[in-house]
Amino acid sequence: MIAITLLLLPVIFAIILLLAPAASSRRIALIGSIISFSITAFAYSQYLQEDFTKLNFDVSWASAFGIRFNIGMDGISLILVLLTALLYPVIIASTSRTVISNPKAFYSLMMLMQLGLMGVFMAKDAFLFYVFYELTLIPVYFICAVWGGDRSIPITLKFFIYTLAGSLLMLIAIIYLYFKTPGSHTFDIQAFYQLTLTPVEQGWIFWAFFLAFAVKIPIFPFHSWQPDTYTVSPMAGTMLLAGLMLKMGIYGLIRFILPIVPLGLEDWVDFAMVLCIIGIVYASLIAWQQQDLKRLIAYSSIAHVGLIAAGVLAANTAGLQGAIIQMFNHGINVVALFFMIDIIENRYGTRWMDELGGIAGQMKKLGVLFMIVMLGSIGLPLTNGFVGEFLLLMGMYVFNPWAAAFAGLTLILGAVYMFRLYRNVFLGEVKDHKMTTSDVAGWEGFILIPLCAIVIVIGIFPSILLNVSEQPVQQLLQFMNDHKSGVSGL
């Protein structure tokens, strides 16, 4: 029941939004997202009590094709659903300051996007997964293109075609796997796990899935859509893309590549890992040179998710656990950072590093809050980023010490570009004295303080998330190793 409610709520609220007056759109969307969050919190408590009955939902959808509307949550899904539900009120609230033309359409699209995201993270049927995966593309495309800045039309179209191209390859792989299932075929992901495929087949399927997810994540060299799209999109669109949408790619890596094509992974993992590591270093170096704060965070995001993807590909407990918790952390941190950059842009009318300076003196609270999130982002102990990056690097060390060594550069480079940002923007001389500025206002604090609290709480008690994902991760790895040695199980 909980699972299907989480999918129905956004649809219901999208319809309410279309009927209600435009002036109250934001409030309605906010109420909808808060209800979703409370239901997700309830789901979390159910999960902790090991009561899984309400977390699954399964009906026939198109029986002639063996497609089922089969959704449910295990620990991995739950963390991502939780992240979606948690960030949604934040993202909607963050639009308070901006004047949005045609708010009905904007918030309805946001709700549809939530439907797609929740659906992707909960789908247990590969066809359903694909439909939701594509469904997210339409609302986010329109949000970014219609409400975006200059040149948003060609840039977002590139984004759309790029990601669609990737996911269509995945569609071929899914149909191929479907016809490999025995009897009257099925799209059930669990049934895909049981297939015995030759190493050659696995290689091809690995690439079909990997390309789809690599574009979405994005992994070097498939990242070229990302910085431009992040830059031109409205802030809410950027938050959706960076905080939530790219997690779909990593989630896909975990769900599809590891258990279904372990031999394909084994053959190609070195190559894929090298791509991830190049991405980490390359994006960090570019972030170091950026003047536009939004673009800087966009590139830093490529570096961070590259590390997460590398951790998944390492395919061991530490790597996967680190990837899952770091997906959550990255979502929180990047949304908080984008929100604070939005505040700066609003107060000073620019987000160029050259034109800013000494903000910490004028906006003391913002200086402190930014510092906390920044430390989380670069992975200082006692912040959330430390736990995630430590586990990720540990996982990579087990995989190959050299990989860990190169990927570890992200810690150093991350500190370099973030401290450069902090020094230039928050410290130093105030560049423009004419600007009258006020510090973080009430509602902004309501958004930022909880996010900062999460950064620290997860840094100190990472087990609240790690415990949830541990059992499914063990199961997944166990299954993958069995599958590799030819024993089917689970």
């Binding site: 026939s60 959808w61 198109a62 029986s63 002639a64 094709f65 497609i67 694909y130 439909v131 594509e134 469904l135 593309l137 339409i138 329109f142 293109a145 219609v146 948003s152 039309i153 179209l157 759309f160 075609i161 669609l164 191209a165 269509l168 390859l169 569609l171 071929i172 149909i175 191929y176 479907y178 016809f179």
Partner: protein, 457 residues
């Protein structure tokens, strides 16, 4: 048989009504004709009634008949609301449409190749006339003449092919031909090869598959936009049903021999259609090329020739028909308002007519094959048909085409949502609004509940 009689009778009534100043009864007569025809067609569901050993109303035939009747219904309503007062030949147009439907019924239900020829001729002659409807418009005349000349040429091929096959097998009946081919393993005899290839050329011309597609863009652009919509939906779907039928009932033993030929035509068609569509400035011409590319996707399902082929072709036809009807309806309305069919007429459409812009967007998403629209599931179905027989390479090419197509399908959508234009509201008649909304909802509904259609075949 009732279906044919009703459609012809309704056509004759509609034609005479205008002679006796009965313009106002034309629409009720023709619509009730359509509904009655649909009703009698559905009565024969699961009966496999055979008429004169020349036609068989099996479920395949009924399903395609109903799809075409629906498309004609939409066309008639739109034509009525857009041209009732302006077109002196209003009643004749409607009766020609009804006559053409008689051809459609024959084309989807034949079991003898003579009936195939008759059906194609009945439909084609109606379409030649319809293409030249605007008799004072040079482009419309060009379209009509070009279509007639090229169409006659193709019919020649078709007839020649039928004659060859008759010479080799001694029968027009599809079942006899199939029996002969199976018995003598004669798929490679010169007469048979020539016959089948000529027949293929004739039919591929009608579905506008490359390299027999050269008439399509000019004819589609020259013909009045609504007629283009009719040709692109009913004309193409019926010809496709005929193609599937002739190969399934008649040449199934030979299909493996020709599979590669179909694969080559499918790939060429998709690439030519999609790549040329990228460069079009006129939305109408763009839709013409896109309709060529869709013939390519359908040919993939035909080529696979397995148990899912029928379902895939039918599903694709339904999704394609709904989306194309929407697209051509919107283009026709905009063209009537502004006199142009360039992409720029879509500028600011989301302000001037939110309904048209959203339905058009749904149509484009469906044609591009993006979930949750019917078009996505149609593509999925076609790809499944191909992959289940191991045709992965052709699916990869089809998918490359799918994302090429996104680029041009999105151009008018981008124009309507993101570019500024004339914000003056466009007033539509209520039935037209309802019709557009219903087709758009159907497109979404079939995409969301694809299982509902899968029981049809």
């Amino acid at each position: 048989m009732m279906v044919l009689i009703i459609l012809t009778a309704a056509g004759i009534l509609a034609m005479f009504a205008s002679v006796f100043n009965g313009r106002s009864v034309v629409l009720p007569v023709s619509l009730s004709g359509l509904f009655a025809a649909g009703y009698f067609a559905l009565l024969e569901w699961n009966t496999n009634t055979t008429y004169f050993e020349a036609m068989r109303m099996d479920n395949f035939a009924i399903a395609f008949t109903v799809v075409c009747l629906f498309a004609a219904f939409v066309f008639l309503l739109l034509y009525h609301y857009m041209h009732y007062s302006s077109d002196v030949h209003y009643a004749e147009v409607i009766s020609i449409i009804l006559f053409s439907l008689a051809g459609v019924v024959v084309m989807v239900s034949f079991t003898s190749m003579l009936m195939l020829f008759l059906g194609i001729e009945i439909l084609s002659l109606s379409l030649y006339i319809l293409a030249g409807l605007k008799k004072k418009d040079l482009l419309s005349n060009e379209a009509s003449l070009k279509y007639l000349l090229m169409g006659a040429f193709a019919t020649g091929f078709l007839l020649f092919g039928i004659a060859m096959l008759y010479g080799a097998t001694g029968s027009f009946m599809l079942s006899d031909i199939a029996y002969y081919l199976g018995l003598h393993k004669a798929v490679a005899e010169p007469f048979i090869v020539t016959g089948i290839i000529m027949l293929m050329i004739g039919l591929l011309f009608k579905v506008a598959a490359a390299p027999f597609h050269f008439w399509t863009p000019d004819v589609y652009q020259g013909a009045p936009t609504l007629v283009t919509g009719y040709m692109a939906t009913v004309g193409k779907v019926a010809a496709f049903a005929a193609l599937v039928r002739v190969f399934q009932l008649g040449f199934s033993p030979a299909l493996e021999t020709y599979q590669f030929l179909f694969a080559a035509v499918a790939v060429t068609t998709m690439f030519i259609g999609n790549i040329t569509a990228l460069y079009q400035k006129s939305v109408k011409r763009m839709l013409a090329y896109s309709s060529i590319s869709h013939a390519g996707y359908m040919l993939i399902a035909l080529m696979a020739a397995n148990e899912v082929t029928n379902g895939a072709v039918l599903f694709y036809s339904i999704a394609y028909t709904l989306a194309s009807l929407l697209a051509f309806a919107v283009v026709a309305i905009l063209q009537q308002k502004s006199g142009s069919d360039e992409v720029s007429v879509f500028n600011g459409l989301s302000k001037s007519s939110p309904l048209m812009s959203i339905t058009f967007a749904v149509a484009m998403l469906s044609l591009a094959g993006i979930p949750p629209t019917a078009g996505f599931f149609a593509k999925f179905y076609v790809f499944s048909a191909a992959i289940s027989d191991g045709w992965v390479w052709i699916t990869v090419l089809a998918i490359i085409n799918s994302f090429i197509s996104v680029y041009y399908y999105f151009a008018p959508v981008i124009a309507s949502y993101m570019k500024k234009g004339n914000e003056e509201g466009i007033v539509l008649a209520t039935p037209v609004k309802v019709l557009l909304a219903i087709i758009a909802l159907l497109t979404l509904l079939i995409g969301l509940l694809p299982g509902s259609l899968s029981y049809l075949i």
